[in-house]
């Protein structure tokens, strides 16, 4: 297990910086997820840590020692790929033994290690089978076993669940999380699936266009996103965004000026100081409340539809011509016209360029 540091890591492809000077410290035993849309540089960053991608500038250190120039074999990292992670011409047992044989470990030692890893990953029953006949879940478990058997300093996972059928993905997520905590190996996992990131990560690194947008525990990204992109990207159903105009008497819904919204003073000051007269309000669907009477901050909206999804009631309202998603407890009473409240404490405010307004 090692502490991994990225120090102003940059990877250029021609004149495009796929990774643009990112700095990050990953603590020992941590499960870090690099999250972002395709093309954000997360895979390039991962491959740089592996040594499969040459860094244009910056440094990578394991436990304080620079590894930037070293070949993958010398870095003591292990990697699980998205599609083919197992050698198809070898049995699972031979696969798991492969890295040990490559290093010249004795057969006896190999046997003991395989026994141990088979127990941890519960793959004892598939040891003598070939990868081709195995379900994708078992295959990725075997791939993980192979990665972990040689005690790597860092475990790198390149979207290992993307190729797995959706219905098995949830199972695998639970297993992966459990195993990582059991084994305690510093793990870097790349995905574009924010659900996966929130499930697995101790900390999430949200990336976009080669830069880091936000780093923090999943709860921090969920409740306190750094900008509009982060707020939009994380969470499903996604955050509702409402355009507001800032007048001298406060905030109004842009599409219907009669509707007024309140915001903390810090936000209003911030907006006025920046000379903005248009800002965006963001609120998560489960934070929208049904209000029983008129009052400050209560907006009337028309019910479009509602469905029981799992144990939540997911409803859609039309507020000043815009569809707002709301998640309510199942016993909520819905009538055609309803009053919604957007509690200021749970609202986020953004400038038109996406930056957060007010304190975080």
């Amino acid at each position: 297990m090692a502490k991994v540091e990225l120090d102003r890591l940059t990877v250029q492809f021609g004149d495009v910086a796929a990774v643009d000077g990112i700095s990050l410290v990953l603590n020992q035993g941590e499960f870090i997820v690099l999250l972002g849309p395709s093309g954000c540089g997360k895979t390039t960053a991962l491959r740089s840590i592996a040594g499969l991608q040459h860094a244009s500038s910056g440094e990578i250190r394991f436990d304080g020692k620079p590894v930037t120039g070293l070949s993958p074999a010398k870095r003591n990292v292990a990697m699980v790929f998205q599609f083919v992670s197992l050698y198809p011409h070898l049995t699972v047992r031979q696969n798991v033994a492969f890295p040990l044989r490559a290093k010249g470990v004795s057969s006896h030692e190999i046997g003991k290690k395989i026994e141990w890893i088979a127990k941890v990953f519960a793959i004892g029953d598939i040891l003598d089978r070939y990868p081709v006949g195995l379900p994708p879940g078992s295959r990725q478990k075997a791939a993980l076993a192979r990665a972990v058997v040689r005690d790597p300093d860092v475990l790198l996972l390149d979207e290992p669940l993307s190729a797995v059928d959706e219905q098995y993905r949830e199972e695998m997520r639970w297993e992966l999380r459990h195993l990582q905590k059991e084994l305690g190996i510093t793990t870097v996992h790349v995905t574009h699936d924010q659900r996966e990131a929130m499930s697995l990560a101790d900390r999430v690194v949200l990336m976009r266009a080669g830069r880091i947008v936000q780093v923090g525990p999943p709860a921090a990204l969920f409740n306190d996103p750094a900008d509009r992109f982060a707020a939009f990207f994380i969470g499903s159903p996604g955050m509702n965004f409402i355009d507001l105009t800032l007048a001298t008497d406060g905030l109004h819904v842009a599409a219907d000026q009669t509707l007024r919204v309140s915001a903390p003073n810090s936000v209003l000051e911030c907006a006025r100081a920046a000379g903005l007269n248009q800002i965006v309000l963001g609120i998560r669907p489960h934070m929208v409340e049904l209000a029983s009477e008129e009052g400050r901050g209560v907006l009337s909206a028309k019910l479009l539809d509602a469905a029981l999804v799992g144990r939540d009631l997911q409803a859609q309202f039309a507020l000043a011509g815009q569809a707002i998603n709301v998640v309510l407890p199942p016993e909520a009473e819905l009538r055609d016209e309803r009053r919604l409240r957007l509690p200021p404490a749970h609202c986020l405010f953004f400038a038109p360029d996406g930056t957060r307004l007010g304190e975080r």
Binding site: A73, F81, Y87, P99
Partner: protein, 310 residues
């Protein structure tokens, strides 16, 4: 809310059934032309061959009635020691040429995995020998192997060894022709091996790299085993071709001295178009066919087992 009446009314109702030819008929129609050609050019000659092998006659003397000898031709051939010698020589030749082709072929394909300057040019160059006519290749190497003024002996003399009679002695001729054959067809092996190596997913190669495997270890434990299906096909094709080798022997040794460097195919040619013993030749052809088919079936069986795994 229901669908507006006027819109559905506009949609015309079409007849209930649409008739088309059954699929199997269509298949038959498409296959018919090829089937016809196959029948005329392959099946007819093939069954004629089998028929002729049961007769004793000569195509050059159609007036003399063919004698039905049943399996007599086969018995005679299999009792003939000379024929067995021919098969032995063929076997040795096949092994020799295939050995050279694959050792060099795989080594070159291995070297060509890494992209170096001029690789593509060298690759194209390496493929040239395949494009030459076998007879031409035969004569080319005949001159090169000439014991008096051939290039090979000159090179050999540089190292201090005395001139070797390459084509006059059957032990040497075996290797000389094998070299010529290998020279022509190693490019084929290089081509297929390169294709096989390139077909290995990048992830696998990167996996091996990260696992700490040296390039040699990766080559023997990953690249080669995963390329086995394609390499087996290459091997099978080369073996079959080697069995049939005729032109090179014709050009380089003429089958001599005496009949020492006659392969089975060469002997077949002699019997069929030298002595015109058509019946006997047909029988020999059938025997040769059975040998090659037997070999192929072993390969195919092994191949199917392999491909079920990878």
């Amino acid at each position: 809310m229901s669908i507006p009446q006027d819109e559905t009314a506009r949609v015309k109702r079409a007849p209930k059934q649409a008739r088309t030819l059954p699929d199997s008929w269509l298949c038959g129609l498409f296959l018919a032309p090829s089937g016809l050609i196959l029948a005329l050019m392959v099946f007819y000659p093939f069954f004629s061959l089998i028929y002729y092998s049961t007769l004793q006659f000569s195509m050059m003397r159609p007036r003399i009635e063919p004698v039905d000898v049943g399996l007599g031709n086969y018995v005679d051939l299999l009792n003939d020691n000379e024929i067995w010698q021919r098969f032995a020589f063929t076997g040795k030749f096949v092994l020799a040429t295939v050995l050279i082709q694959f050792t060099i072929g795989l080594a070159v394909a291995y070297a060509f995995q890494r992209n170096f300057k001029g690789r593509d040019f060298l690759f194209t160059l390496a493929l040239l020998p395949m494009m030459l006519c076998p007879i031409v290749v035969g004569f080319l190497w005949r001159y090169m192997f000439n014991s008096e003024w051939g290039v090979v002996n000159w090179l050999v003399s540089l190292v201090g060894i005395a001139k070797i009679d390459w084509l006059g002695r059957s032990e040497n001729a075996l290797w000389a022709v094998a070299v010529a054959d290998a020279w022509t067809w190693t490019p084929f092996v290089i081509l297929l091996a390169t294709a096989a190596f390139r077909g290995i997913p990048k992830d696998i190669k990167e996996s091996a790299e990260i696992d700490g495997a040296s390039p040699m270890f990766t080559f023997f434990r990953v690249t080669l085993p995963m390329s086995l299906p394609i390499l087996m096909i290459a091997l099978l094709l080369r073996l079959i071709d080697a069995f049939k080798q005729y032109d090179l022997f014709l050009a380089m040794t003429g089958g001599g001295p005496a009949s020492e460097t006659q392969t089975a195919a060469f002997a077949l040619g002699k019997i069929a178009f030298g002595y015109f013993h058509t019946g006997e030749a047909s029988a020999l052809a059938v025997i040769l066919l059975i040998v090659i088919m037997g070999l192929s079936m072993i390969f195919v069986r092994y191949l199917t087992r392999l491909s079920n795994r990878v």
